[in-house]
Subunit: 286 residues, 4 copies
């Protein structure tokens, strides 16, 4: 038996679950897990199903379901559970999220392939080497009164994404704002970790903002990257309790634990096809 | 349109979801929520579905699904979402859980009917009166060297459950151990709150045990009542952080917040048919 | 022996703890608890001490410490631990925080006196009556194109605060913005509960804002009231996990649990003199 | 100015804080942080103070305080804040806690020295090498019907502790029970991480026990090592929410996050002299 993961979003109407299950039954499928949700505002139907069948080609399974669905607008996808998404990690100098993702990858807790790590700094090269992942240093330079190399750097990133057949880009504390064009190119397939409990403390130095404000909890937010900075659909959040004794620097250190947890969960959810986009919000079938 | 809640547990086999959805489609049903889980150890299939249909009789919906299922062993039930389970609360002297449940009931957060409150003490009579719920004082007495009135008291409780068509009994800090017979009679329809993070600190005075042990978190556990004391299937748990400055009495006070939250969630889950029993464990579709 | 609570804020300098302890020793004091913190930005020294002594007059204890301190700028206060602060609760229609505070007051978990409850609506009169607390309905009216009664209402509130010797005003979901003048009058002695995780979702309908944004945690913030709306020093925060299945109305219901917990803790901290103000931030000796 | 950390436990009596502060004032000390607690059961006075002074020798500071205290039974210690405790990590095959500690050490979040890592298996040698820490493989062997090498192995561990002037031993998932003798030798200076929320699920395979019991939260407990297995004084605990969908293996993976957090906090508390032992319990000045 082969295990497949099916995801579907489409406009709601009666009979959708029945149609999907009928299609799965047509290929001898046995449903192991099934989660479903209809967004009441947009009437978007969302579904994630894990199914066992003797058919080992997901395209065959998908075709069987598509025929029953008969909805050309439906966003339907079937993949093998064993298929590992290809993830490009981008990072700058802070390496705590990178190390955490690499550790989970090595132990098998994060079932993805890591073809390449890209950074605008050279600092993380050694860590990448220790885990045996190719590391590419793509700095962004700027001549005095002259042009920046950012467009060229982003063009190279796009090439790498194509070359390495990258499914997901993870900004693991990559401290450069992506251009609107690259954001659009990566729509729905780039996850960022912001080091605050959004929408509080957008922008730079959120822990210092949090310290100045005297909050009693700090947090981190994993979200999809959009051109609207720190406004992309939220995937996962986490918080930690703090108090008056913590300096801004200690908030940075404490907050790193919440960043690690929120980001690694978001990437795992993505890798397991648990995240569906509905407008500006996410449906996460945990 | 009328909204129904369907719950099903049965032995797993291919086509179950398709059969259920087919039955629902036969009565013009549109599925709004659907959660499903197959327990890998026992191969028990568990399903909870919320469905809209023009049929307003749940028996008709249930018959349509049962016909498609064709499984006489299946544990299938369809009810109206608007149907309010009838809950008997039992309490002794501590009233924090009682007050919390009554408050949630009054504000509509807990969609149940409360036909009667039973206590082995008279203390909570005033609170019951303030919320307009009949209160019955059923003390347990014991003559010196003589018999206890407990069998008679429990017989009266059984009568009350029948008279008031009680669906669920909630032991909201009822400090009497129920007889094995009554536990069996209430199998799957009596929820207790234990004031510790089970399986730690079973038995009496758990907060004092926790204090003596110097734990850094205290908790509460809502579970189904079984003859095996504090060993019934766990429904919900919650914890609160404590430290060395807390006396045992302060742990009692702090822990009451976790008791309230864990018990009220468990009762709400039950009232919304979100809890399915699989062996000694619960499946909770949150 | 009589138990006193000492609190002190002053500019930091060597010998402060020694001076305080010397003063306490002069009156035969034995220190039971002592917490201390120096804010590195403002160099403000903060201290809270619980002391047993045979002297039963806190003024005598305070004078002994003041003499040793010899700092006329110091903000020093000694009170009996058994002295119960007098708290005026203000509320509108949502009563969950009110009921929670009243319950904790009745069981002794909140060691305060409640001389009066004030509301701009009549809804909570019955609850106040059930707990035996005087309830005053002070509506705010506004003639068409005419003046509002708000200045007169606030003048009456000021009178009540004086008449009832109120130490602390608690805005337990009081849905009127206080005037700048009243905010200033109540500086450091009025606590509000805001139903969001500040600084996210300031202003009206925060749960609806949170729902629209698709956050994965909602929260509540207890803070001192200042003229700058929702910007006062934060005392306590709490959060609860939510997901895509929650409607805005369900966020409201879920969030009420975090509001209750955050507000009741903040009031208890205040009642136990655990909160010291340093600029726009709080030091909370938990 | 030099920063010192003072810790003190002794029998409670009036004047203790004054005596300590007097001694600190005698060496021109300015107290920056001060935490204090008197255990009401044993009347043990506990204190931790951070002080700035121009004296750079902690022995001089300690002598000044000791003279004022005049209590030969007092457990008094003064150290430089900048002094880094020397920690020996012991590990078996699971490396998640080891990697976490090494990462925090490398980034400076954990201010300790790591002279040596000891393991009864060879698996973690590469990780130790990547961080540049000497790794010693000390297997325990057992001849058929013959003696075990455990006494010899433990003797070697004792030697290493002496050779490397080890202050603290951290059992970062070291899966061997220490002999009573070694436990006694390491009293108060060996921390273990147990992968359950103690006192629930003592002994082997706690996650499998938790899975079988159907708990809704799993946890981890950092505690001092004692001859009484899993019964040593608890230092720190953490929990994570789980549900029916988690297999025992997934509980293992999820629980590793709580193990990492609880253990790293416990080690940091110890390194900062925040943990005082009172009988079988800990006072942790966070």
């Amino acid at each position: 038996m082969t295990r497949h993961i099916l995801t579907l979003t489409c406009h709601d109407r009666p009979g959708l679950v029945h149609a999907v299950c009928g299609g799965l039954l047509d290929v001898g499928g046995n449903i192991l897990e099934n989660a479903q949700f209809t967004d009441p505002d947009s009437l978007t139907f969302c579904m994630r199903t894990v199914v066992d069948t003797s058919v080992d080609d997901p395209a065959v399974v998908q075709a069987a379901v598509a025929e029953r669905l008969a909805d050309t607008q439906a966003n339907l996808r079937v993949r093998l559970e064993s298929e590992r998404p290809r993830v490009m990690i981008m990072v700058s100098k802070f390496d705590h999220c990178l190390v955490d993702l690499l550790y989970r990858w090595r132990t098998g807790a994060l079932a993805v392939d890591l073809p390449i790590i890209v950074s605008n700094h050279a600092d993380c090269a050694l860590i990448a080497a220790q885990y045996g992942i190719p590391f590419l240093h793509l700095p962004i330079t700027k001549a005095v009164d002259g042009p920046t190399s950012k467009p060229a750097q982003e063009a190279r990133i796009k090439e790498l994404i194509a070359e390495h057949r990258v499914d997901l880009v993870v900004l693991a504390r990559y401290m450069q704002v992506l251009s609107d064009d690259l954001c659009e190119h990566l729509r729905g397939r780039a996850i960022n970790i912001h080091h605050s409990f959004l929408p509080g403390f957008k922008g730079a130095k959120p822990y210092h903002q949090a310290h100045a404000r005297g909050v009693k909890l700090v947090g981190a937010t994993a979200h999809f990257v959009t051109a609207d900075l720190d406004e992309g659909p939220i995937i996962e959040q986490d918080v930690a309790r703090v108090d008056h004794t913590h300096t801004a620097e200690q908030l940075v250190a404490l907050g790193q634990d919440t960043e690690r947890l929120a980001l690694s969960r978001a990437v795992r959810f993505w890798a397991e096809d648990r995240i569906l986009l509905v407008g500006d919000k996410t449906v996460v079938f945990r």
